[in-house]
Amino acid sequence: MLRRLNLDWLTFVVVSVGYISAYTITSGLVMPLQKIFAPQLPVVFSLLFLPHGIRVLAVYFLGWRGILYLIPCSYLMWAISVYGSSIDLAILSPLASLSVVYVAVRMVKTFTESRSTDAFGFSWKECLAIAAIASVFNGIVLSILHGNSFNWILMIGYSSGDMAGQIVLLLLLIAFMKINRKLSKFI
């Protein structure tokens, strides 16, 4: 089955570890700080949601297979943090968040293909464009799923948290790679 879908275990492990780590930092560090410095904000969204960055990178590089790789860890973290904390968020929300990223990737790729630029290349600017579009779609979809009607505050909260998460994740990766390069000289 995995071979027929051209999926492999190593990619699954890398994507899952990345997603779970990003989710753990968000819920274990960002959310407590948010509760201290902005207690008036709803607990259903984070102002710095790092897992959105992992979702965008996975679907950007792996296409629709990125969604399949992310479904198990998305639902695992959803079950632990959202369902476990009795936060009222729909069961479809992890799937919806992954789907909007795929839609955003297809939109940006279709645009770059139509402009005859390098459609098969990857660039950080394209990645940020995808993240921005996906964060707006995600904000709209999640705000509707949360309260069965569109809510501007939730939509802006989800969108800004997702976009900030993507930017910070890329900056963290730059810092990680710089440290890695420096350390590798001593080994």
């Binding site: 051209n6 492999d8 190593l10 990619t11 890398v14 990178l57 590089f61 792996l62 990857f122 660039s123 950080w124 990645c127 890329l170 990766l173 730059i174 790679m177 710089k178 390069r181 000289k185």
Partner: protein
């Protein structure tokens, strides 16, 4: 190279390009241009030849001594690797 390693290599290239574009790297301007050209000209195994860089738009207008100095410095910083078989002009881009 496995699919996972190939995708991680593409991700590291994207992050490295971002680092250079945002001015977060400690490379000089000629080094950045040569490195960007090397990344663009390298094949699937990360290999390229110096004559490919000399004709690349990013580094074509650079004076020859500046180009080869930048190439040497990138080699010293282990960002570009000379072919171990000492085949003349053959380099590869280091995994960042």
């Amino acid at each position: 190279m496995s699919n996972a390693m190939k995708q991680l290599s593409r991700l590291s290239k994207l992050i490295f390009e971002m680092e250079i574009d945002l001015g977060l790297s400690d490379l000089s301007q000629p080094e950045k241009l040569v490195l960007m050209a090397a990344h663009e000209q390298s094949d699937a195994d990360g290999q390229f030849q110096t004559h490919q860089l000399l004709s690349h738009p990013l580094s074509a207008k650079m004076a020859r001594p500046t180009f080869f100095r930048a190439l040497k410095l990138l080699e010293q910083k282990e960002l570009l690797l000379r072919n171990p078989d000492k085949k003349r002009g053959l380099y590869s881009v280091a995994e960042t």
